[in-house]
Amino acid sequence: MYKSALIGLLSMLAAMVLPQAAQAEYADVVMNNYSDAAGMRPVVFPHWYHRIRFRCKVCHADLGFKFKAGGNKITMAKIIDGQFCGACHNGEISWSVENCGMCHSGIAGTPTQIHGSTVQRLVAPTYKKLGNK
């Protein structure tokens, strides 16, 4: 009784002390080229949500998004100019840019990455490093 309470307490503490492994949805993209430095939360882009509404072709062919997390160097200037996210998040196709917290929803300090990728899940640490680049 006493012991199980102790174990319970310990594991509760452990849950708080040990860094929690992220369990984000497969293919969620974190973009943090500039956000942290500008005092904004990093951006989280959900692929699953968008692919229910659009085929890959719309973004990756028509709108010119390159296949590389962080590789498009998206900025707010480009967005309000109608490029990248701004091609849709303009109050016409989707809600408009003033909803900062909808896109800037990541935990501060999270590096640019595509979540759940095969490279991230390999056990060899050298590969993990490559994945987090």
């Binding site: 594991s11 492994a21 369990q23 659009f54 296949f67 909803n99 990728s117 095969t118 056990v123 490559l130």
Partner: protein, 220 residues
Amino acid sequence: MKMKQFFLGVVALSVLPVVASQVEAAQPPLKEVKAAKGHVSTANTFNRLLEKSKARNLPPAEDGIHDPDNDNTHVLQPPKIAYDGLPTTPFGNYVDWVKALDTDLLQPRYDRFDPTIEPLIMDLDIVREVKSTVPDVVFPHKPHTQWLHCSNCHPKIFIPQRKANVMNMSGILLGQQCGVCHGKVAFPVTTQSCTKCHSKPKPADWKPPQSETSLKDPWR
């Protein structure tokens, strides 16, 4: 007395990470641990490297990358709600995106504005013979052209010519060739998904090529 308690606290905190990892890994009854004789390495957890994901399709506020302190995080849609009724797979988003299109359960737009524009679909299978006991690879253009445009792959990732491209698993796992998408957004490379690509069984009389060393070894 106070001093002693403080000291105990410090000791407890400093051993916590070690004890905690044990508790997390196997949760052995405390008695057995005490019964162990002498010094035993705490490194011998049953799974040293395996990390199992505990839950699928977590809502944004619990997924470890969204900030729960951001009000809008709670406005975002939890994936589970959206996936209700879609065909499933045992990996990736746990959704069979190809089947979902084929059965018209989803109709994502091919054009940003016009929902009536139909994709340019090409039904051409490319077979790649594999120098291994695993089944040969069939690359189907059909599901790819349902989602993507020819220019997404040709000519930057693949020269549009049979056998003109060098492909192998190490490249794919590191995000090249098929791995540009598979393992990132399209279904990932895991034990359960090998046969999605490796889908053409070897001919009945096929035998794996033998290594020189094994052919030359006089003791075999």
